[in-house]
Symmetry: C2
Subunit: 171 residues, 2 copies
Amino acid sequence: MSFKVPEGDNRERHVCDGCGVIHYINPRIIAGTLPTYEGKVLLCRRAIEPRKGYWTLPAGFMENGETSAEAAARETIEEAEARVNIHGLYTVFNLPHISQVYLFYRADVIDGQYGVGVESLESQLFDEQDIPWNELAFPTIHRTLQHYFEDRKTDQFPVRTEDLRPPYRKP
Amino acid sequence: MSFKVPEGDNRERHVCDGCGVIHYINPRIIAGTLPTYEGKVLLCRRAIEPRKGYWTLPAGFMENGETSAEAAARETIEEAEARVNIHGLYTVFNLPHISQVYLFYRADVIDGQYGVGVESLESQLFDEQDIPWNELAFPTIHRTLQHYFEDRKTDQFPVRTEDLRPPYRKP
């Protein structure tokens, strides 16, 4: 493998010296949900690094062949053992320093049923006043929850887009 | 390279037999703009396949290290030689059959200046009645333009999300 600018391109890429195939490396999409039931928000405590032991919304890498909403629903089953009805896209975050784009969807937990997936230590429905703000795993989680509780006052949930770069400031 | 399920995973991946590195292949993001100037929309006619000779909005693969809005603005310079002020995210399309996610931003063409990038045959500002609807390159372009002219009636441009799968129906 060489690292060079292919013909007709303007960036260095990993190119196979044997067959000439160009291995493009592009930003990854993380899809997740903001799962709610009777006004409470479902959070999971991470069993794996990074940020093991901290609370998160269910989310993970989108896979080939699925839509972002399907990816978000799948991750919610995997991490919180909760089936959801997806409402709409809610937050879109760019994290250019790590080449990630987050897409969170608002969702209802069907029948309020949930469990603990293999990548989680526990799952719990939280009222707004009980959200563990100082033990959230990532800025994307923090911002999605902040937007949600603010937007809930007016019951209007437009798509919120933000770029998140370090250093992150506490609100 | 082997194609197998890595430990702790649930999908087959390309894994290097030598060093064990897992080569994940994930959906790609295509970022673009809907560039307007004095009520007209800037389209480019494609100089490359696929859909050579058909009209498109400036868009292309998002690169590592940039935000989706930066990618959209960069592609607009590359394909239409137009600098833009980005307004907001406008359309989000999932194309799961080809594992792509499109993000289009509304944008103003600064000073109405544009040209013809190396991947374009020509560029042109179109009034609504002159849009070449039957010569558009992709369904994502068609739908973004349809939403735009519809939403312009009320001057409200909420984010529009859609899954697009073949066969595409003409509107």
